[in-house]
C-alpha cells in the first residue's frame, strides 16, 4: 500500500529502488542507520529489474538470467529493516537535505542526515522526423510493458538504433514468439576504428559471450540491416511506416505498426542538477555526468550519487557503487571509522573492477552518430513545447548564448518533462553551431519542483514564518 514514510527525519534517504538504491539502502540499514528508500514505482527493481518481484513473465528464459539477479537484491532489501516508500515522487531536495515528496496520500517534507541519489539512467533522445507519432516508443518502454504486464506486440514491428538494449529487447521478444519485421542497426561503421584497440579487454569480459550470443540469436531469426545512417517515422495521426537510408543510398520504406527506438542510455541528472551538484561532460559517453569521488560523494555535502545516475556503468556495477556510497554514509554518520570502511569496501571494489571490464569497448562501439543526435529542419527537438530544430537553429544564429536562454526565447525545455528529452540535443546543437565543446555550452539549469506537484498539495505543506512573510509581507 502507498503510504507516507513513518518518520519525519532519517539518517539516510535513498532515492530510487534500482540496483544501486536497493543495495545502498540494504547496507545502510545493516549498519543500524535509520534508512528510507523512496521510489516512484510501485515495486522495487528500478527499470533494469522492473517488476522483478511480481512480473507475469514467469518463464525465466524469456527475460533472461541477468534480469532475475534483481530478485536477490529485492529480497535482501526487504529483510534489511530499511523503510520502503513506493509510489512516491521526490520533487525537491534542498542543500540542507530537506526532501519534498508526494504520493497518492498527499505531499510532505522529510529530512535526512545523508542522501544517496540512485536515480539511474534514461534513454538518450532519438530526435528523428516523426518520433512523436503514436506507435513510436523506446525499446525501454516496450521492455517495461513486457516486464510489468506481460504485454508484447501483436502487429508489425521494427526496432531501430544502436546499443546493447536493442539486441536484448529483440532477443526477449523473439523468445516470447513475437515476429520482428526488421532490425535497423544505426551503429556507425567508423566506430570500429576507435573501439578496436579495446576489443581484447572486451573479449575477456563477461559482456563478450553474452553480447555475441544475443546478436547471433537475433540475426538467425530476423533481417538485420546494418549501416543505417538516416531514419524517419511516417504516418497520418499514427505510425504507418519507417523510412531509412544507408550512406548515400536511396531511401527505403518499411510499413510497420510499431517502432521501437534506442540509442543508448544517459544518467538521469535532473535531481542532482536541481540540487546544484557539479556536472562534467563525458566526451566518450556523450553526456553530462555528476562529479563524484570514489565513494560517490557529489560536490554538495551530505549528497552522494550511486549507480548509472553517476555515469553509465551498468546494473552490476550499480549495486556495488550503491554499497560504496552506503559505506561512506556510515562513516560520515559515525557508525564506522575509515579503517572499517576501507576494509569493508575491498570486495565491492574488486567486483566493480570486474563489472567495468569491457565497458570502454561498448561505449566506443555504440556511440550514436552525430546525424541521429543533432537534428535539422522540421524535426521536433522539444516534444513538450513542439519546438523544431529549425526554430532552435534560428535562435542560435541570432546569438542565443546557451540552453537556459533558449528556454526564455522558445519555451524549449519548459514543458512537463523539464528538458529530460531535449536537454542533450539542445546542448549539442548549440555546441555544433558555435564549434565549441558541449562542456563549454553546459546543460539546462534545472529548477524545483523536478516532478509536477499540484498547488493544492503545496498548500498542505507546513509553512515557516519566514516563508509566509516572504509572500504576504509583515
Amino acid at each position: 500500500m502507498i503510504g507516507m514514510p513513518k518518520e519525519e527525519a532519517y539518517d539516510v534517504a535513498v532515492i530510487g529502488a534500482g540496483p544501486a538504491g536497493l543495495a545502498a539502502a540494504t547496507l545502510a540499514a545493516c549498519y543500524g542507520l535509520a534508512t528510507v528508500l523512496l521510489d516512484e514505482q510501485p515495486t522495487p527493481g528500478g527499470q533494469v529489474y522492473r517488476a522483478v518481484t511480481k512480473t507475469p513473465v514467469q518463464e525465466r528464459t524469456v527475460l533472461g538470467s541477468d534480469y532475475w539477479r534483481g530478485s536477490d537484491l529485492a529480497d535482501a532489501f526487504h529483510i534489511s529493516g530499511a523503510e520502503y516508500a513506493p509510489g512516491t515522487a521526490v520533487w525537491n531536495i534542498t542543500p540542507d537535505r530537506e526532501i519534498g515528496i508526494s504520493n497518492s496520500a498527499g505531499a510532505r517534507l522529510i529530512s535526512a542526515r545523508h542522501i544517496i541519489l540512485a536515480t539511474g539512467a534514461l534513454e538518450r533522445p532519438f530526435p528523428i522526423p516523426g518520433w512523436t507519432l503514436p506507435g513510436v516508443m523506446t525499446c525501454g518502454a516496450m521492455q517495461i510493458l513486457m516486464k510489468t504486464s506481460g504485454l508484447v506486440p501483436d502487429c508489425r514491428i521494427v526496432l531501430a538504433g544502436t546499443g546493447p538494449l536493442l539486441w536484448l529487447l529483440a532477443a526477449q521478444l523473439l523468445r516470447a514468439k513475437v515476429k520482428i519485421e526488421t532490425v535497423l542497426d544505426t551503429t556507425p561503421r567508423r566506430n570500429w576504428r576507435a573501439a578496436l584497440p579495446h576489443l581484447p579487454a572486451f573479449l575477456l569480459s563477461s559482456y563478450a559471450p553474452k553480447g555475441l550470443a544475443l546478436m547471433r540469436e537475433v540475426k538467425r531469426q530476423v533481417r538485420v540491416i546494418s549501416g543505417v545512417t538516416a531514419l524517419a517515422a511516417d504516418g497520418d495521426g499514427r505510425l504507418e511506416m519507417i523510412r531509412y537510408r544507408r550512406g548515400g543510398g536511396s531511401e527505403t520504406a518499411i510499413p510497420t505498426d510499431l517502432l521501437m527506438l534506442h540509442q543508448g542510455v544517459t544518467p538521469n541528472v535532473n535531481l542532482a542538477n536541481a540540487i546544484g551538484c557539479e556536472h562534467n561532460w563525458n566526451p566518450v559517453q556523450h553526456c553530462f555526468v555528476p562529479a563524484t569521488d570514489q565513494w560517490g560523494m557529489s560536490t554538495v555535502p551530505g549528497i552522494s550519487i550511486a549507480g548509472d545516475g553517476a555515469g553509465i556503468r551498468g546494473a552490476v556495477a550499480a549495486e556495488h557503487r550503491g554499497r560504496l556510497a552506503a559505506l561512506e554514509a556510515a562513516r560520515l554518520l559515525g557508525r564506522i571509522d575509515q579503517v572499517a570502511r576501507d576494509r569493508a569496501a575491498v570486495p565491492y571494489r574488486a567486483a566493480l573492477n570486474r563489472a567495468d571490464r569491457g565497458r570502454h569497448f561498448i561505449d566506443l562501439l555504440y556511440r550514436p552518430s552525430a546525424a541521429l543526435r543533432v537534428p535539422t529542419g522540421e524535426t521536433i527537438v522539444c516534444r513538450c513545447e513542439e519546438v523544431t530544430a529549425r526554430q532552435v537553429e534560428e535562435v542560435i544564429a541570432r546569438g542565443c548564448p546557451g540552453p537556459n536562454q533558449l528556454k526564455a526565447l522558445l519555451r524549449c525545455g519548459m514543458g512537463p518533462c523539464q528538458g529530460r528529452l531535449c536537454g542533450l540535443t539542445v546542448t549539442e546543437m548549440i555546441a555544433k553551431a558555435r564549434a565549441q565543446s558541449p562542456a563549454e555550452i553546459g546543460h539546462y539549469r534545472q529548477r524545483p519542483p523536478v516532478k509536477p506537484i499540484t498547488v493544492a498539495e503545496l498548500a498542505t505543506l507546513p509553512q515557516t514564518e519566514a516563508a509566509q512573510k516572504a509572500v504576504a509581507g509583515d
Binding site: E40, Q41, P42, Q47, K54, P56, V57, Q58, E59, V62, G87, A89, L122, E123, T132, L133, P134, G135, V136, M137, T138, G140, A141, M142, I144, L145, M146, T148, S149, G150, L151, V152, P153, D154, C155, A176, G237, R238, D257, L258, N268, R383, C384, E385, E386, G415, P416, C417, R420, L421, P452
Partner: protein, 98 residues
C-alpha cells in the same frame, strides 16, 4: 496491437476510457491498460493538437498524460489501475488549466 504472454493471474479490473468499458489486470499501470485496449493515442498536444501516446513508460517523457477520475494531466505509466477508474483522453488546448 498487443497481446498478453499468459493469462493474467491478478483480478480483472474494470475501467472506462472516454465512456467505453475496458478491462485490465490488477498490477497493470494505466498506460499499459490503454495500450492493451487499443488506445495508442492518449491525448492531443496543447500547442498544435497533434496526437501523442505512451513513449518511455518510466515517468520521464510525460507523453502519456490523461485525466484520471477527474484529475487532469496524470502520468498514466506511473498510476496503477483500480477497479471503477474513469479515464479520459486529453484534448489539446481545451484541457489547459483543468
Amino acid at each position: 496491437m498487443f497481446r498478453r504472454l499468459s493469462q493474467p493471474e491478478g483480478a480483472t479490473v474494470r475501467l472506462t476510457v472516454d465512456g467505453w468499458p475496458v478491462t485490465a489486470s490488477a498490477g497493470d499501470n494505466v498506460a499499459a491498460a490503454l495500450l492493451e485496449a487499443g488506445f495508442l493515442t492518449c491525448r492531443t498536444t496543447p500547442v498544435s493538437g497533434a496526437p501523442r501516446g505512451p513513449f518511455c513508460m518510466m515517468g520521464v517523457c510525460f507523453e502519456c498524460l490523461v485525466r484520471i477520475d477527474g484529475v487532469g494531466s496524470r502520468q498514466a505509466c506511473l498510476t496503477p489501475v483500480r477497479d471503477g477508474m474513469l479515464l479520459e483522453t486529453q484534448q489539446g488546448k481545451r484541457e489547459a488549466g483543468r
